[in-house]
């Protein structure tokens, strides 16, 4: 048990690898038991998890708010789409790397004028960026395909994976699951990267900049550089998430990444817990099954899902959840654990001291 103790207390790189591996394998195992529809939902959730990781890092750790992450997602998605359009045979991993690089560059472009801004100015600036992406995509039709967007080739499931399945719907099941597994693995890798970033020198510098920028400057931290770096990393994560999202859906259009997606992302991050790794995963899981959740709430409240109100129920619920969480439980779902753990630990200590006496 000594190993477990050091794993929990020290949070070393090795323990992080083990933790992420265990989580990823668990998620992969789950995909085997889910129906194809749930598998594709899970794939989308994995892509969104990557974006929320970046957002959580930006808002929770560097203290800069962004409403532009749907814009960064669009940059990544279009990079992947345009690249795939011209170089069909590029391995997926290169496409993803390109998407991350382009995301980071767009993040830098936004960061340069933004690093001197605070709070509301920054939120508005990033909102304006995210609003500008759609007209850009609509305008340069020859590159982006205009309103119709771009199409990706369907993901090819390797034959060894196909052999694992039998029965009448073997190919459908295998394809859906291969997509989900791919997304889960990418999300796992990015989770590991972010876990290390959180505890890195940059991560610590970021927190100091967030809490007291004057002290940070006195410590020799370059403020604009650190803030820009936070933006670039968040944008790279969003770019990858956007690329993965559109590869899964095999298409990217200007309407894939509307302004409301930024609100959804913010809601999921706040619900999960601002600035926490587990919060991002919780947010991703909620996203995966939000359609089912909304359906359930519709049937509970007796709203006809085919009606106008039913169709907009998701927006109403997400917005209301965002308000309620922020007002009454700003630490989110992940914030429930630490006080609970403290409570358990205190009780255990009480028990041991009693037994000594």
């Amino acid at each position: 048990m000594g190993w477990l103790q050091s794993f929990r207390s020290q949070q070393t790189t090795r323990s992080r690898i083990i933790c992420v591996l265990a989580l990823t394998i668990l998620a992969l195992a789950i995909t085997f038991f889910l129906p194809p529809v749930a598998d594709s939902q899970l794939a989308g959730g994995a892509a969104i998890t990557i974006v929320i990781l970046g957002l959580s890092w930006l808002i929770g750790w560097s203290g800069q708010i962004s409403l532009g992450n749907s814009g960064f997602m669009a940059v990544g998605a279009y990079t992947a789409g345009i690249w795939a359009h011209h170089h069909n045979s590029t391995p997926l991993i290169f496409t993803f790397v390109f998407a991350m690089i382009m995301g980071a560059i767009s993040g830098l472009i936004i960061a340069i004028p933004s690093t001197r801004l605070r709070g509301p100015y920054l939120a508005g600036m990033t909102l304006a960026f995210s609003a500008a992406i759609t007209p850009l995509a609509q305008n340069f039709t020859s590159i982006t395909g205009g309103e119709g967007g771009l199409f990706f080739n369907e993901l090819t499931t390797p034959s060894w994976f196909l052999h694992l399945f039998s029965g009448p719907d073997a190919t459908i099941n295998a394809n859906a699951q291969w997509t989900a597994d791919l997304a889960v693995v990418v999300a796992g890798v990015m989770f590991f990267v972010m876990a290390n970033l959180f505890h890195s020198r940059t991560g610590r510098a970021m927190r100091l900049v967030r809490d007291n920028d004057v002290a940070a400057e006195l410590m020799g931290i370059n403020l604009p550089l650190t803030r820009s770096l936070a933006f670039m990393i968040a944008a790279a994560f969003a770019g990858l998430g956007g690329a993965l999202y559109s590869v899964i859906n095999a298409t990217v259009t200007p309407s894939t990444f509307p302004l409301t997606l930024s609100i959804t992302l913010l809601t999921l991050m706040v619900l999960g817990g601002i600035g926490t790794l587990s919060g991002a995963v919780i947010g991703g899981i909620i996203y995966s099954f939000s359609a089912n959740l909304v359906q359930h709430i519709n049937s509970l409240t007796g709203v006809n899902p085919a009606s106008n109100l039913g169709a907009n129920m998701q927006g109403i619920i997400f917005g209301a959840l965002l308000i309620l969480t922020m007002m009454f439980a700003p630490t989110g779902i992940a914030g429930v654990w630490p006080p609970l753990k403290r409570l358990v630990r205190r009780r255990r200590r009480l028990v041991t001291t009693n037994s000594v006496h």
Binding site: P120, L136, L266, N312, L322, I323, M326
Partner: protein, 299 residues
């Protein structure tokens, strides 16, 4: 003279200014709220849209146009007051991200609710003024209609009214005092809490007027019809520094003109970029806003 008024250049000036006054109105409402509570109200446009839906759909029940306008503005004001009391007041003293996130959530709720109640299809509201453009004596079109003139006059009247209220009335003095030095104002007997609510009520009224004009014009009324206006209005307010009403109004007009010139000389879909280009340039030159006084930040 009429040749000049009908020239492409003047077309752009007229359309740009007509659109610009709407941006100025929304920017002004954002500035009033920012001055009173230091919150950037992301739901400003959506709140105004919702109030306009409530007011203007009364036309279907046979209520005259002007009564509908008054209902919209009054409902908008009530919304503003309620939002400040219920959503913003519990968050004073919390990190500045919290009210932003709450108002973004409110924006999501309102837009989804409006789409749920009234559907997302565009409604056109018949205004009492004609939208047909004037013609010059030689038959050329001048890009001005009775409605556009009404739009500009109403917007300017609202701006002057707000300016007069802040400048010449006792209420205006109290509002300015509680924005500038809440502690001192409280000691001198100003009910600061009430002033903050009044600031929100005033601002939401101004926003509702902008929404009514937008809905009555060619743009029409639909749940997200204020999104573009909000972004442009925010940019206008930010260019001016979020604290200067004059800056906000100037910024709004500038953005209106920039968008119109991009639309006419480059591409219609790229017009929304006009504001962003102006914002980036303005922030590069003076990040605290063009029209603000330099204030030292206390460490």
């Amino acid at each position: 003279m009429s040749d000049f008024l009908a020239s492409p250049f003047m077309h752009n000036i007229f359309s740009g200014l007509a659109q610009g006054v709407l941006y100025s109105l929304l920017a002004l409402s954002l500035v009033i709220i920012w001055q009173s509570t230091h919150v950037l109200n992301f739901a400003q446009g959506a709140m105004a849209m919702f109030a306009t839906y409530i007011g203007m759909t009364q036309i279907d029940r046979g209520v005259p146009y002007w009564w509908c306008v008054i209902i919209s503005v009054v409902v908008g004001m009530a919304f503003g007051g309620l939002a400040e009391r219920v959503l913003i007041r519990p968050l004073y003293g919390k990190p500045e991200i919290n009210p932003i996130v709450v108002m973004v959530g409110f924006l999501g709720v309102i837009e989804a609710l409006a789409a749920g109640i009234w559907t997302s299809t565009t409604r056109n509201i018949a205004s009492p003024f004609s939208q047909i453009y004037f013609h010059a004596t030689n038959g050329q079109v001048i890009l001005l209609s009775p409605f556009v003139i009404f739009q500009v006059i109403l917007a300017v009247a609202i701006m002057l009214g707000i300016a007069a209220l802040f400048r010449f009335t006792k209420l205006g003095l109290q509002l300015r005092a509680s924005a500038l030095a809440p502690e001192v104002a409280r000691l001198l007997g100003v009910r600061v809490g009430r002033m903050l609510t009044i600031g929100w009520i005033l601002a939401s009224g101004v926003g509702a007027v902008a929404a009514v004009i937008i809905a009555s014009g060619t743009f029409g009324l639909f749940p997200t019809n204020m999104d573009g206006l909000f972004v442009a209005g925010f940019i206008a307010a930010a260019v001016g520094g979020l604290e200067s009403p004059i800056g906000a109004i100037t910024g709004g007009l500038l953005i209106g003109l920039a968008e119109q010139f991009i639309l006419s000389y480059w591409s219609a879909t790229l017009a929304p970029l006009g504001g962003i280009i102006i914002l980036v340039i303005a922030l590069m030159i003076r990040p605290q806003g063009i029209f603000t006084k330099t204030v030292g930040r206390r460490v």
